[in-house]
């Protein structure tokens, strides 16, 4: 699911950052997807419905220690991306 999400982003024409690519190649696809989502949010990028679904499915597979606030940050970023994507589609 996680690697598929990254593949879906690439297939949708999203330019993955060097850091994301580096993390994936170094064997940390979880971190790569997390940062890809963060970049999508920071750069206010909208996604196609298909890519969005893949990203959502991948993000659900990510696990975070509850001692950190990363799950909250991730969910908030995803929500903004979904809203933006929905607005673009409309």
């Amino acid at each position: 699911m996680i690697t598929e999400a990254l593949d879906a982003l690439a297939a949708a024409g999203v330019s993955l950052s060097r850091g994301v690519i580096e993390q994936r190649q170094d064997g940390n696809p979880d971190g790569a997807l997390l940062d890809a989502i963060r970049h999508l949010d920071e750069q206010k990028i909208s996604l196609t419905n298909e890519a969005l679904q893949a990203v959502r499915a991948g993000a659900e597979q990510l696990a975070f220690n509850p001692r950190t606030n990363l799950r909250t940050l991730l969910d908030q970023a995803l929500e903004r991306i979904e809203q933006r994507s929905a607005s673009s589609a409309a």
Binding site: R18, G19, D26, G27, D35, R38, E60, A63, P66, T68
Partner: protein, 512 residues
């Protein structure tokens, strides 16, 4: 536009920085092994590592040499051979045993800058047919080559850089004649009166040609008595004594950024503008030291003069008086790390450094600075220990992706630790080693996180490890990039990921 030797210093400094960025993790990695193994490793690795940098500096020197004015028609410059492997290996072992980052950087500066200097000296020797420079470069400083120091060089380097700053004639720049014959007190008084000035510094500003003319006149015997006393004839050129600091002329202490600029046959060298100020400082330093009775005529005189020059420079900056140093030159290659004058002179280029700025590989209580100069808001000892959730994730008991990086997890795209890493203690030992490793590099990772990467050796297993912590020092993830027994799952297969330091050295830490 900056004086071109200053640009050259910048290039060499960049080369050294690049080498240091790679050498420190290399040394740190070697230090993770037992003493015997680490020395054996560095004996092989260090010469191979450093030789391209030395050769690169030599290539730069050869290129520049050919571009310098003057020279024999058809002469083609060449790059000097790097030092013998056994010497480089010895330098590497010494650096390893010292284990001090600032020392390693200083040693690299010397080795790489010597690559430039050796090529320069060897080409001078060949083009002039004068091998003396190879035996004693200091003896021909000021005639066959000049010493360029940055504007903020230490006193020791400034003393030496004032030598050879002005080539009074083509002949003096192309022959080994020792020190030019200086002006007498009578000459100076006459020139002061003629040009209405009160010092040599002022005279240099208003009538440098008069100084040159008088000096040239003084190069020849005009008195039959004086000529006869020296075994010469009227009209013969006088040969000045080699300057008292010649023994030091070829000394380049660790971290010294001075470069050797060749003066090719028929060529000339124009020193940086600030050297004129240094010449004035030099004169004043000698006068002050003489008045204070500090000069003995011995080898320590240069240290006294260098200290005096440092003091003059400090006084000038403190009083904010005008100087001949232009703003851009002050921002030249920084010599902040230049050793204190005493130590520089004591070192005599033996490569021992002064050690006053030793910081070690980093304090266990703080991480290295981030690239922007800021700090991680907590230190290694503040990082929260891994807990049961972290272990469950690592061990594949997580409800989400089904596991972390434990051997046998078989999650596509993920690396797996070696099989021996099984318990929370194992994982904690690796994280502790990674965060306190001398090789650790750190970058921001967005959302307040920090990412760390280190080369470590835990329980005899070498690996490059990546750790991510959140803004408050709670662990986010830990995974192996490569190492002994490390693998990565790709398309249902487990590919070996053997230890490779490039994953640390070439890591960009890019979070954008």
């Amino acid at each position: 536009m900056a004086h071109w030797p200053t640009e050259l210093q910048r290039v060499l400094a960049a080369l050294t920085t690049d080498a240091a960025n790679r050498a420190v993790p290399l040394m740190a990695h070697a230090a993770e092994f037992g003493r015997r193994e680490s020395l054996a490793f560095i004996t092989d690795a260090f010469p191979e590592f450093i030789t391209p940098f030395i050769a690169g500096a030599g290539d730069i020197a050869a290129t520049i040499y050919e571009d310098l004015p003057g020279g024999i028609d058809g002469y083609t410059a060449f790059t000097a051979d790097p030092p013998p492997l056994d010497k480089l290996a010895a330098a590497g072992r010494y650096a390893l045993l010292r284990g001090i980052e600032s020392f390693i950087e200083g040693m690299l500066t010397r080795l790489i800058n010597n690559g430039f200097r050796d090529t320069t000296f060897e080409n001078i020797a060949k083009e002039y047919g004068e091998p003396v420079i190879l035996e004693a470069p200091g003896a021909v400083l000021g005639t066959l080559w000049a010493r360029h120091a940055s504007a903020n060089a230490c006193g020791f380097c400034r003393v030496l850089a004032t030598r050879g700053a002005v080539y009074h004639s083509e002949e003096s720049a192309t022959r080994v004649i020792g020190e030019s014959i200086g002006l007498t007190i009578t000459d100076k008084r006459r020139l002061f009166q003629e040009y209405h000035v009160g010092s040599m510094a002022e005279l240099r500003k208003v009538a440098p040609e008069a100084i040159a003319r008088e000096r040239e006149r003084r190069q020849y015997y005009t008195s039959e008595k004086a000529a006869r006393k020296a075994g010469k004839h009227v009209g013969d050129r006088k040969v000045g004594r080699l300057r008292g600091t010649q023994d030091y002329g070829d000394k380049f202490h660790d971290k010294c950024h001075c470069t050797a600029i060749a003066v090719r046959p028929g060529g000339h060298y124009e020193p940086a503008p600030y050297v004129r100020q240094w010449e004035a400082d030099h004169e004043q330093a000698i006068n002050d030291a003489q008045e204070a009775g500090e000069l003995t005529g011995g080898r320590d005189d240069i240290k006294v003069i260098a200290r005096r020059m440092d003091q003059i420079e400090r006084d000038r900056r403190n009083s904010d008086t005008s100087s001949n140093i232009s703003a851009p030159d002050v921002k030249d290659v920084r010599d902040d790390d230049a050793p204190a004058t005493d130590s520089a002179a004591d070192d005599g280029g033996n490569g021992t450094g002064n050690g006053t700025d030793r910081t070690g590989f980093g304090s266990p209580d703080e991480f290295p600075k981030l690239p922007d100069g800021s700090s991680v808001p907590y230190g290694p000892s503040d990082v929260a220990p891994l807990d049961s959730w972290d272990f469950d994730y690592f061990a594949g008991k997580s409800t989400q992706s089904g596991g972390g990086h434990r051997y046998g997890s078989k999650i596509d795209g993920k690396t797996e630790f070696a099989q021996w890493v099984q318990s929370l203690d194992d994982l904690q030992a690796i994280q502790d080693a990674a965060l306190t490793s001398p090789s650790v590099r750190v970058y921001p990772a967005g959302w307040g996180r920090y990412q760390f990467r280190s080369a470590v050796n835990v329980r005899g297993h070498a690996m490059v490890v990546h750790v991510v912590l959140d803004a408050h020092g709670y662990p986010v993830t830990i995974f192996p990039v490569n190492g002994d027994g490390v693998g990565r799952n790709v398309g249902g297969r487990r590919e070996d990921r053997p230890f490779d330091l490039d994953a640390l050295l070439n890591w960009t830490g890019d979070d954008h």
